[in-house]
Amino acid sequence: MAKILVVTSGKGGVGKTTTSAAIGTGLALRGHKTVIVDFDVGLRNLDLIMGCERRVVYDFVNVVNGEATLSQALIKDKRLENLYVLAASQTRDKDALTQEGVGKVLNELKENFEYVICDSPAGIEKGASLAMYFADEAIVVTNPEVSSVRDSDRMLGLLASKSLRSVNGSDPIKEHLLLTRYNPERVSKGEMLGVDDVTDILAIKLLGVIPESQAVLKASNQGVPVILDDQSDAGQAYSDAVDRLLGKEVSHRFLEEKKKGFFERLFGGN
């Protein structure tokens, strides 16, 4: 059965698009036919992170409006056989996507893919609601910071009450917490909320912890999902998260600060 997975957060800029690209690519790497759908109408960005921005001809709204077929609009990844992207429209019309239209496209995608990853826009308004409405599972991307945690909790409330699954009374959306931009050093100094603090408050299952990493900017500069940088901490952390999503037991890495030499601790190296 195909699965619809929404990557959502409430708060903006916490790493949803980075995560959608990484998780989608990771699933395809493991042999699952996957499409990543950009729901951020007016602020298309997934194409840049995936490195396919120059090959966008038709977008999500074109398909909803019947101006293009799905096969015309789907962009096949250059690196992986099993990976596709559906770009967001750059229209300024906020009502370009309707629940009915989105439902139709997602159903068609479900017939052809194992995983449909929905990259949600920020906020809790219409765009974010549409991105999560049809979801089977949700990855709630959270930064270890007060406003992000609070917004994630609000999003969890919406997932539980304003989705198709809640409306028709089927099993609730399966929720996963992905803590990103984590800085173990600051956590150990008591300057940043730790994993346990955040899981205590949000009380959902931890899918992974992605460290704050220079590899993410480097990857986005090049249009390569960071998970393909398998030497990087963030890439490896995303890779573990994909394995956990697929049901593997993998212990969490990158939760402790890197050991520094005595002199490094005394004389900087921050």
Binding site: E145, V146, V149, R150, D153, R154, G157, S161, V187, K189, G190, E191, M192, L193, G194, D197, D200, I201, R265, L266, F267, G268, N270
Partner: protein
């Protein structure tokens, strides 16, 4: 970081625990509000109108609250009638 900061660091107040405490309070509060159904305000308004047919009461004289206790919900109505 110099050698003095290195020692002072250990004692710096822990702002993460302040953050956690504040979050626990606000999140608990917001969850409480969230669990009230959307129809409560409308229900309250209509009750006021019905009662007003018989007794003269103000808009705030009817309080409606829904409490969940295990598997059952209790709808609590608190109606303040004017002095006689």
């Amino acid at each position: 970081m110099n050698i003095f900061d290195f020692f002072r660091d250990r004692k710096k107040s822990n702002t993460a625990s302040v953050a956690k405490e504040r979050l626990q309070i606000i999140v608990a509060h917001e969850r409480g509000q969230r669990s009230t159904p959307d129809y409560l305000p409308a229900l309250q308004k209509e009750l006021v109108e019905v009662i007003r047919k018989y007794v003269n009461i103000g808009n705030d004289d009817v309080q409606v609250a829904l409490e969940n206790q295990g598997s059952c919900s209790i709808l609590e109505l608190n109606i303040t009638l004017p002095d006689r």
